[in-house]
């Protein structure tokens, strides 16, 4: 059995840990609110852009369609962008995204396709380097940015576009965690290229005859790369909110566990202290009786 002093030390160390996890939980809660707002306020832009593109895409089809929309027509080489957190201490946040991505990657490899990987976030790089060392083409570290803006998503989008236009890849998929609510984040795979136009119906009724300036195709050409960036940005924003939500939950659990531990140790400490006092009393009494 540990000595009383050892037990006292252990209790105070758990108490110190509890203070840290408590503080982290509160910081995460505050940051969660801010990043949730950021994720919400970025949605109108993404939604509008998607609906405009859907509108345009329904008009432009066949051979005239830009490659980013139509794809290369092959399905051989895949580029997988895995975006998660730069920091840890958020429960299984990164792991759940990485797990979803690995299932996808492994099934592609099993089908004999070529896979390239882009890691966004330090923790992702750490988790993917071992199993897929030769396949990682680029890594991004976002921990230096205090705020997520379009300029953060731009380099990632540029890399994707460069690889695609160089003919290195046919299909691009982005893995991130969709922020559904504070308690629910869903690891999601989103196909970026060929662009998926979904959910937005072409306007019903007499189709309005649009005038385009410059041409329809030219507009689509400029909008598609931007859509790519915006999709990546909104995935990053979702990730950010999800990260803090999951950190908050993890730290809340840690604080509670620390509390349980303190209770258990204190009970044990008091018991052994009591036992020692009793033992000493017996020694004194029996010593007195012997005299």
């Amino acid at each position: 059995m540990a000595s009383l002093k050892e037990m006292r030390n252990r209790i105070s160390s758990v108490k110190a840990t509890q203070k840290i996890t408590k503080a982290m939980q509160m910081v995460a809660a505050a940051k969660l609110r801010r990043s949730q707002d950021a994720a919400e306020s970025a949605r109108p832009y993404a939604r509008r852009l998607a609906s405009v593109i859907a509108n345009l895409a329904s008009g432009v089809s066949g051979d005239g369609a830009p490659k980013m929309l139509a794809g290369t027509g092959r399905d051989e080489r895949h580029l997988v962008v895995v975006a998660a957190a730069d920091r840890g201490l958020a429960g299984g946040f990164t792991s759940s995204i990485v797990r979803a991505a690995r299932v996808h990657i492994d099934s592609l490899i099993a089908q004999g396709k070529t896979v390239q990987i882009i890691c966004v976030g330090k923790k992702v790089t750490a988790q993917l380097t071992r199993p897929y060392a030769g396949k990682i083409v680029e890594t991004f570290d976002l921990s230096a940015y205090r705020q997520l803006t379009l300029s953060v998503a731009q380099p990632i989008a540029d890399t994707v576009t460069r690889l695609y236009e160089a003919g290195e890849t046919d299909v691009v998929t982005l893995f991130y965690s969709r922020f559904k609510s504070v308690v629910q984040q869903i690891p999601t795979g989103l196909q970026l290229i060929p662009a998926t136009v979904e959910g937005v119906e072409a306007p019903t009724g007499p189709a309005a005859v649009y005038e385009y300036e410059p041409s329809e195709e030219a507009i689509l050409e400029t909008l598609l790369p931007r859509n790519l960036t915006v999709q990546i940005l909104s995935a990053l924003l979702d990730n950010m909110a999800g990260f803090y939500a999951s950190q908050m939950t993890a730290m809340d659990n840690a604080t509670r566990n620390a509390g349980d531990m303190i209770k258990r140790y204190t009970l044990e400490y008091n018991r052994s202290r009591q036992a020692q006092i009793t033992k000493e009393l017996i020694e004194i009494i029996s010593g007195a009786e012997a005299v």
């Binding site: 306020s41 405009v52 005038e211 030219a218």
Partner: protein, 86 residues
């Protein structure tokens, strides 16, 4: 007079949304103004100023690149960067 529904959206947030009298914007092939019931029209934008007029008030936004969509439901500008000019 009929009002035009106008919204100006930047990637980070929605800067303006509401009914106004007129909007002037820098189109890629020349500036243009939009009143209510404008014919459907789509264009890319260059760097410049978006002027929003509603009654006696005028608001000016500086934008950098973007895209304008005039539809039956109004005018939407998706700007890459946008700030309200002082």
């Amino acid at each position: 007079m009929a009002k035009l529904h106008f919204s100006l959206v930047a990637p980070e947030r929605e800067l303006f949304s509401g009914d106004v009298d007129m909007v002037q914007a820098p189109g890629a092939e020349g500036d243009f103004g939009v009143l209510a019931n404008h014919a459907p029209f789509m264009t890319t934008l260059r760097e410049g100023k978006v002027t929003v007029k509603d009654g006696a008030t005028t608001k000016v936004f500086d934008i950098q690149g973007g895209f304008a969509d005039v539809g039956p439901e109004g005018l939407t500008i998706l700007a890459e960067h946008a700030v309200e000019a002082a």
